[in-house]
């Protein structure tokens, strides 16, 4: 089984999957888990959580740009 990032991003389904994951991660009920816990290292967990998901979105698109194109 050969895994290839290039092939992965070539498929439309991958993007639809990532999109739906993003929607799920950024909405109720997963979001309520983050609001529940109050703070991590003095920072409200909700802010850290949102920033993390957001950066993940950026990261995936970045990997695609870097690896998927050549």
């Amino acid at each position: 089984m050969a895994l290839s990032i290039k092939d992965l991003f070539r498929q439309d389904e991958t993007w639809v999957f990532l999109f739906l994951m993003g929607v799920a991660l950024l909405n109720w009920p997963l979001l309520s888990l983050a609001t529940g816990m109050m703070s991590v290292f003095g920072y409200p967990s909700i802010l850290l959580y949102l920033a993390l998901v957001w950066l993940l979105i950026i990261l995936f698109a970045y990997i695609f740009d870097r690896r998927g194109s050549s």
Binding site: W15, Y43, P44, I57, I58, A61, F64, D65
Partner: protein
């Protein structure tokens, strides 16, 4: 502020210069990503802070939606870009209108709604600029006159947009100056935001931590702040949803993202750059907003970003922030006015004006002026609106316009993937969505505190609480979720439901295909009636084009396109002309919009020279439906002629499909190649007769007016020799023959392959098996098998030996004419035939029988069998076979060249036999006392074969005076001369005798008898035995063979 705008002018000018010098600074992915950031307008620049300060995290979905949308960039946005480039669509209204059959109504609705939603939005930007300026320096006065900042800004921006946003006639050409400025401004607003963020966080508070700690404490102590860290999941979801739609469908987003995209690859970088931009833009929003709260900064919360540095004495920083905010506002106004301006021109005004402009006007100039006027109009409306309202009443206008853009989503995004979406469905969805949007979102937001607000918004219309705009039917949600739900729910429902109930026109369906399948290989080009440009010339196309884009450009464009196609004005062929036509339509779409293009192309008024009305012209060749034609040489020409006049065609060929398409300009016509190649539904193996038959059958059944070209049967037969049982080939050909009754079957056979007298052009033939090539020999084998099957094995061997001897001596097949010397030499090689295959008839495949020879051979075979088996009944043994191949069982017993007399009181049986023979492929002529209509109805005798014996002169039917024997004779001999397999029925003998006398009639019959014998015709004469005396009857009978009419045969 003015200085800043002048700087922008400089940047734009620089970008345009660089572009002209060939080194574009704009065509790169970073500028593209930055230009997408026109999304961040003054509403978000200032509004985010305000929302964060009053509603907590609720500002975030506005940015999360677009970030998520970028994940679908490669699937969704790339498709939008591809389609728009392919068809030169320059706005969201073009885009939607094009998808639904280039509908004017839909384009116009989208354009109007865009204008409605953009006006308050632009107003907000202007107010934001003036309000922020007042925060900094109070009202401006020059020489004692109060200068209204908004007016100055609006004027400058209008001028700017006109200069850099409407430079070219072709809006598809990129506006580098505009994009350069937008990208630059995006950079300015980001930097200024980050600077303030850093200043507030680290300069004032010494880090993010203290702010968060402070606000956490405030949340627990002050109930006003309790909602800052919480999330309302419902409105969170709806805001994410509408901002997702907004990033794709807002006029300005569509413009920068799709229209100004110069390379698909740029999208790839923007997919992560743009979310990153939004992330950076937001990283300090909580810090500034909550910092402002903790510092008890005065003034409205939206202005915290400005007031915090200002109150801390950082005037320069405050000024920079102001510049950032102004950047956000101006960029938005610029792009929005250009985008909405051009969609108003293309989809609202142009189609309307088209029918009403005179020929002499300078259209290209007018178009450009109108585009500029529209841009100014958008800015002016925004300015006027901004004078009428205050800032706080527009605070939520961004969401309201996002909601409006979301109404485009079902039609635009649904139409992108769902082919069944129709014009009617899109219309229903859009209209209902917009009306509900106005009611549930626009009115409650902009109503202010006037009469509307108190009466309608607060209590519902006429005091009906159930219809309250923000709580329809008592639905208790926040205003945005409420509006999102109702508008999109009704919009989507109607879009799907009405779409399913309506059927698109063929033109709309074709557009849909080129839209949805834009990434598929070999997408069929746009359907253009090939005939409609056959008469047009390149020059006429150019003249039409010149009316809209100017003489020089039209000429340059046509020349360039001709070069690309590698042809010249004189030598252009149909295929190239079509491509030129496609380019012509696209250029027009780019200049005047899709619906106007449709009108130009459709309305013959404006393109008379090009649009020679094809519908009015008749096809050169007339082919009656339900017939089979053999066309040896001109088959493709006749076929093309038919399909360009509205007949649906199916082409089955041995030639290369692409070659045929090019040569004959077929566009939609399916072409199937008879080939052993695999892997495509365009190939069918010639040995797969069932599949071929099913293909033809399903095509014929799907169309009411069709033509099938089969090139050719000879190839099929040759390919199947020794592979497929002959019986199967016969069945196939016979089924094709039956199918031809529902279509026009054109066979491109060599003349040598057909044993009939046929013309070199078009010959209509009645049946195939006994007409084409070796099929009759196949049939003979099948028949002989059937005839021999009833014999016991000993007799059978004897019969076969006898028959084979007869075949060798040439007494079975009358004139064994081999198809060619070569094939007969192989097939009739005596060494290979016997003795290994004892008990098999030695029929060499080179023998070709025509219909008459076939039946003679069958009869001779029958006689030989009868010699050995006296009980053998020829007619009975082959009756089933005759029926299964559509032959009349009578034909076997009627010997050509013979005159038969049928004695019966009424001529029922005679007419029945005649009708059956004619309907089974013989050429008939019936002389009758009956009205042809009655014969046709009762016996199925085609009226064309009947000659009515009557003294009345008849114009509708062929008739002849019963006393005019010379005329009768000449009719008969004419007929005998032309017909291939003639059968004649004389039915009104008694009447003829009554009208003249017995002797004359007898002489007439005698003379005809000789002709009939010479021409191998079958002549049937009906006599009522009771109407003649014995002697008369006897003399007649002696001239003819009696034909006993067995009941039930």
């Amino acid at each position: 502020m003015v200085l800043y705008l002048l700087l922008l002018f400089g940047i734009a000018q620089f970008a345009v210069r660089r572009r002209l010098a060939g080194r574009s600074i704009v065509s790169n992915p970073y500028v593209y990503a930055l230009s997408l950031s026109v999304y961040v307008s003054a509403w978000t620049f200032y509004g985010s802070i305000g929302r964060a300060a009053s509603n907590g995290l609720e500002f975030l979905p506005i940015y999360l939606g677009p970030s998520l949308a970028m994940l679908l960039g490669w699937v969704l946005i790339r498709k939008m870009i591809k389609i728009s480039k392919e068809h030169r669509l320059t706005s969201i209204s073009d885009f939607i209108s094009f998808r639904y059959g280039r509908s004017y109504a839909i384009g116009a609705i989208v354009a109007v709604v865009s204008l409605v939603m953009v006006t308050p939005y632009v107003a907000l930007q202007l107010i934001a600029i003036s309000t922020s300026l007042e925060v900094l320096s109070g009202p401006h006065t020059i020489l004692g006159i109060e200068i209204e900042t908004k007016l100055v800004v609006a004027l400058l921006l209008g001028a700017f947009a006109v200069i850099f946003g409407a430079r070219h006639l072709d809006p598809m050409e990129h506006h580098e100056g505009l994009i350069a400025v937008v990208a630059f401004e995006s950079l300015v607003k980001l930097v200024s935001f980050l600077l303030v963020g850093l200043y507030v966080t680290y300069g004032i508070f010494g880090g993010y931590g203290p702010i968060l700690e402070g606000i956490s404490r405030a949340i627990s102590t002050n109930p006003d702040y309790s909602n800052l860290m919480g999330i309302n999941y419902t409105s969170w979801f709806s805001l994410t949803l509408i901002s997702f739609f907004a990033i794709l469908l807002l006029p300005r987003q569509f413009y920068v993202m799709v229209v100004e995209n110069s390379d698909e690859a740029h999208l790839k970088k923007a997919m992560w750059l743009f979310p990153l931009y939004l992330f950076l833009m937001n990283i300090f929003v909580p810090a500034i907003a909550w910092g402002g709260l903790l510092l008890n900064t005065p003034g409205i919360k939206d202005a915290f970003i400005l007031t915090i540095p200002y109150t801390h004495g950082q005037d320069l920083l405050a000024l920079f922030v102001f510049i950032g905010g102004a950047s956000a506002a101006t960029a938005m106004i610029l792009v929005e006015s250009v985008a909405v301006g051009s969609m108003m021109l293309n989809d609202l005004e142009m189609p309307y004006l088209l029918g009403r402009i005179g020929g002499g006007m300078n259209l290209p100039g007018l178009l450009l002026q109108m585009r500029r006027l529209n841009i100014l109009l958008v800015v002016a409306l925004g300015y006027l609106y901004s004078r009428a309202v205050a800032y706080h009443s527009l605070a939520d206008i961004g969401i309201v316009s996002f909601l409006a853009a979301s109404q485009f989503a079902p039609a635009a995004l649904g139409g992108l993937f769902w082919k069944r979406g129709t014009r009617e469905g899109a219309m229903a969805g859009l209209v209902s969505g917009f009306l509900l949007w106005i009611y549930t979102a626009l009115i409650p937001t902009v109503a202010g505190e006037g009469w509307l607000a108190t009466n309608l918004v607060a209590n519902g219309p006429f005091g009906i609480v159930a219809l309250k705009p923000t709580a329809l039917f008592g639905m208790n949600l926040d205003i945005w979720t409420h509006s999102v739900f109702w508008t999109l729910f009704v919009n989507c429902t109607l879009y799907v439901l009405v779409s399913l109930m309506s059927r698109p026109s063929p033109a709309e369906a074709a557009l849909t295909n080129s839209f949805v399948d834009v990434f598929k290989e070999n997408v069929e080009p746009l359907p253009v009636d090939r005939g409609s440009i056959r008469m047009g010339t390149v020059d006429e196309l150019q003249t039409t084009l010149a009316r809209y884009i100017g003489d020089d450009r039209a000429k340059r464009l046509v020349n360039a396109e001709l070069d690309r196609l590698g042809t010249t004005r004189d030598r252009i062929d149909a295929k190239q002309l079509l491509e030129l036509w496609g380019e012509f339509e696209k250029t027009l779409t780019g200049s005047v919009g899709p619906s106007a293009t449709r009108m130009i192309v459709e309305e013959k008024v404006l393109v008379t020279p090009v649009q020679e009305a094809v519908e009015a012209t008749q096809p050169t060749y007339e082919l009656r439906p339900g017939r089979t034609f053999i066309i040896p040489e001109k088959a493709y020409e006749v076929f093309t002629d038919q399909i360009t006049h509205g007949v649906e065609g199916l082409c089955i060929t041995i030639h290369d499909p692409e070659e045929l398409r090019r040569r004959w300009g077929f566009r939609e016509t399916p072409i199937i190649k008879l080939s052993h190649e695999k892997g495509s539904e365009r190939y069918i193996s010639p040995t797969n007769l069932p599949l071929l038959f099913v293909t033809i059958k399903s095509f014929v059944e799907s169309s009411k007016n069709s033509i099938v070209l089969l090139d050719n049967v000879e190839h099929l037969i040759n390919e199947n020799v020794d592979l497929v049982p002959e019986r199967e080939v016969l069945d196939f050909v016979y089924q094709i023959e039956l199918l031809s009754r529902e279509t026009r079957m054109v066979l491109a056979e060599r003349q040598e392959f057909v044993h009939l007298k046929i013309a070199s052009e078009i010959s209509e033939i009645k049946e195939l098996i006994l007409t084409l090539g070796p099929l009759s020999t196949y049939l003979f084998k099948v028949f002989s098998d059937a005839m021999l099957s009833g014999l016991d094995s000993a007799t059978r061997v004897d019969v076969i030996r006898d028959v084979n001897e007869s075949i060798e001596s040439g007494t079975i097949f009358e004139k064994a004419e081999p198809m060619s010397v070569e094939s007969s030499a192989v097939a009739c090689d005596p060494d290979m035939a016997q003795p290994s295959k004892k008990g098999v008839l030695k029929i060499c495949s080179g023998i070709v029988l025509n219909r008459r020879e076939f039946f003679i051979a069958i009869r001779r075979l029958g006689r030989i069998i009868k010699k050995y088996d006296p009980k053998f009944d020829l007619a009975a043994s082959v009756r089933d076979l005759m029926n299964s191949f559509g032959r009349s069982p009578f034909e076997i017993s009627l010997i050509p060249g013979t005159t038969y007399v049928i004695e019966e009181e009424k001529p029922n049986k005679s007419l029945e036999i005649f009708g059956e023979l004619v309907n089974h492929g013989m050429d008939g002529l019936c002389l009758s006392r009956y009205n042809p209509e009655i014969l046709s109805e009762r016996y199925g005798i085609p009226t064309g074969t009947v000659i009515w014996l009557t003294q009345k002169s008849e114009s509708e039917h062929r008739s002849v005076d019963p006393t005019n024997f010379p005329r009768l004779s000449s009719i008969l001999s004419d007929f005998l001369h032309k017909a291939n397999y003639p059968v004649i029925l004389l039915e009104g003998l008694g009447y003829l005798i009554t009208q003249s006398n017995y002797e004359t009639v007898l002489r007439f019959i005698q003379s005809q008898r000789d002709d009939v014998a010479l021409k191998n015709a079958i002549f049937l004469v009906h006599i009522d035995p009771l109407s003649l005396d014995t002697k008369e009857l006897h003399r007649l009978e002696s001239e003819m063979e009696p034909l006993s009419v067995k009941p039930g045969v």
